[in-house]
């Protein structure tokens, strides 16, 4: 059985379900039902409420969509940056290619967790939740491109040294024709990079959020909901606190299955 198409379908269904949950009348991820904090499942709150009495199902749906949109956008930025740097380094003369790859190595060698803490602590406390989300994914994109660029660079180098490239030169193709010749060959190089980046960024955002460095409240995020789990008293009250982490793992599995080359 082919895993990839089924995983893609399941993922699409999950996204659609999350969208329906968010779009249903009266859905609000920030409305607090003060009478019912940490409630179990009911008709009003199908997955219960959190410590502030907010509907857990709505929050999970919003976190899912937010993290997928953010991770996809960040993956796109990373892949584009990597494509630019990687192909430039491979095809440009060594005087340009070598410093470009050195820059990648320097980026990879930086102590990222420390830098992240610095960047986030430098931001004013009044940063709006929407801005904090944008900054989180921007930081992830900035963090992800060098590893990606190295992979693209290696692939582009083998394209440059390929027999068909030699033949294209021997046939007297012009510079811009060579570029047109190469472009369709970059897609099989870039697509896996993009697909691998998405789950990586989803989990990175969850980890950052769990450290309090991610998306700010009241915007829901995986990381914010994972924070609930460090309170053992809460764990005993309702099993529904495990729902976000279970769904997160399921979504990550689906994303990984899609990223695996068919």
């Amino acid at each position: 059985m082919k895993l990839r198409p089924s995983a893609a379908w399941l993922l699409a269904v999950t996204i659609l379900a999350a969208a329906i949950v968010l779009a249903r009348p009266g859905a609000s991820y920030s409305h607090q039902d003060r009478a019912e904090p940490l409630a179990a499942a009911s008709t009003l709150h199908p997955a219960g409420t959190d410590a502030l009495g907010r509907d857990r199902l709505t929050r999970v749906a919003a976190a899912l969509l937010l993290s997928l949109v953010g991770a996809t956008a960040a993956a796109a930025v990373t892949t584009l940056a990597a494509a630019g740097v990687g192909t430039l380094a491979a095809f440009a003369p060594a005087s340009i290619g070598w410093p470009a790859m050195l820059l990648c190595d320097v980026f990879l060698a930086l102590p990222w967790m420390f830098l992240l803490l610095m960047v986030r602590s430098a931001l004013p406390l009044t940063t709006s939740p929407a801005n904090s989300a944008a900054i989180t994914f921007l930081v992830l994109a900035a963090l992800g491109w060098p590893a990606c660029a190295r992979a693209v660079y290696r692939g582009a180098l083998s394209l440059k040294r390929s027999a068909w490239m030699l033949h294209a030169h021997a046939a007297g193709l012009r510079g811009r024709q060579i570029v047109r010749y190469v472009l369709p060959n970059l897609i099989p190089l870039l697509l896996p990079q993009f697909l691998i980046c998405v789950p990586t960024f989803v989990i990175a955002e969850a980890n950052l959020g769990a450290l309090g460095l991610g998306i700010g409240e009241p915007l829901p995020s995986w990381g914010g909901m994972l924070l609930e789990l460090d309170n053992s008293a809460m764990l005993l009250q309702t099993r529904w606190v495990y729902f976000p982490v279970a769904l997160l793992i399921a979504v990550l599995l689906l994303l990984e299955a899609v990223a695996v080359e068919a």
């Binding site: 027999a163 030169h169 046939a171 007297g172 193709l173 369709p184 099989p188």
Partner: protein
């Protein structure tokens, strides 16, 4: 036949760390097929790149002269050299499958190769293609041209590459071991095709190979490349005069004596001419 020198080569080439070709010298007459034979590692691929002015692109250096029609290619700028590649000198590469760009259709290959030297115009290319594909015995229909390299056989791929080389009717075609990746039957077909192109259309061919059998079938003259130098050069019909040990080693490695192969060549040429009429008849 009037002997007119088309190509005069005298060069030394190598990479930063080692010299691969020492004082290579040979000439090629218009309409001639010269077989350049050598064992693996003798410098054949370096020579091909040098002749096309592509060695710097692979990190190598070349000194000397490659005179095509009286013009030294190595003294030309990259810009002018590009204009010659594909139009006056073309390459038939070694491994047909990897020499085609797997991401684009055969039609795009012809399209781009055409645009490299001609003003884009559908009509001119279409009529040239019709003629070319018939020449190399490939189907000339839209369905075939829409295929990607992975959807055709190795033999067809090599015919496509030969058609690409012939596209601009170059004065010289360099064939770099064009049969080494092919099975024996396809090998024979490709060698016959190259011979027909030479005999009928006077295509000048530099045929580089380590396969002496195909060289004897195809070439007028033979040059032996050994350890980066041409050690012996003589007409194929005078192979018995060969003296150099590299040549003798190559001849010694033949499965049957060279005379037998040459006799077979003469006979099969006659048969091919006799049979081509019959084959055409059967196809109808």
């Amino acid at each position: 036949m009037i002997h007119e020198t088309l190509l005069r080569v005298s060069l030394t080439a190598g990479y930063s760390t080692r010299r691969v070709l020492h004082e290579i010298r040979f000439e090629l007459q218009r309409g001639e097929v010269l077989g350049l034979v050598g064992t693996s590692g003798a410098g054949k691929s370096t020579l091909v790149l040098s002749l096309l002015g592509l060695l710097p692109w692979r990190g190598g250096r070349v000194r000397g002269e490659v005179e095509l029609n009286g013009r030294n290619l190595l003294a030309l700028s990259e810009r002018n050299l590009r204009r010659l590649r594909g139009r006056e000198v073309a390459l038939i590469p070694q491994s047909p499958m990897s020499a085609l760009n797997s991401a684009i259709t055969l039609e795009r290959h012809f399209d781009e190769a055409w645009k490299a030297h001609e003003t884009p115009g559908r009509g001119a290319l279409a009529s040239r293609l019709q003629q070319l594909l018939a020449e190399v015995q490939l189907p000339c229909n839209a369905e075939f041209l829409r295929r990607r390299p992975s959807q055709i056989s190795v033999g067809q791929a090599q015919r496509v590459l030969i058609a690409l080389a012939l596209l601009h009717q170059p004065a010289l075609i360099i064939a770099d071991e064009p049969t080494s990746a092919l099975d024996p039957v396809t090998q024979t077909q490709i060698v016959n095709l190259l011979r027909r192109l030479n005999r009928r259309h006077g295509v000048t061919l530099l045929y580089i190979s380590h396969d002496l059998v195909s060289v004897l079938q195809l070439c007028d003259r033979l040059a032996v490349l050994s350890e980066g130098a041409i050690v012996e050069s003589l007409p194929v019909d005078e192979l018995s005069e060969a003296r150099h040990e590299a040549t003798l080693a190559l001849l010694g490695a033949l499965p049957v004596p060279a005379e037998t192969l040459l006799a077979f060549r003469d006979r099969s040429t006659r048969d091919a001419i006799d049979l081509s009429g019959a084959a055409n008849y059967q196809r109808q």
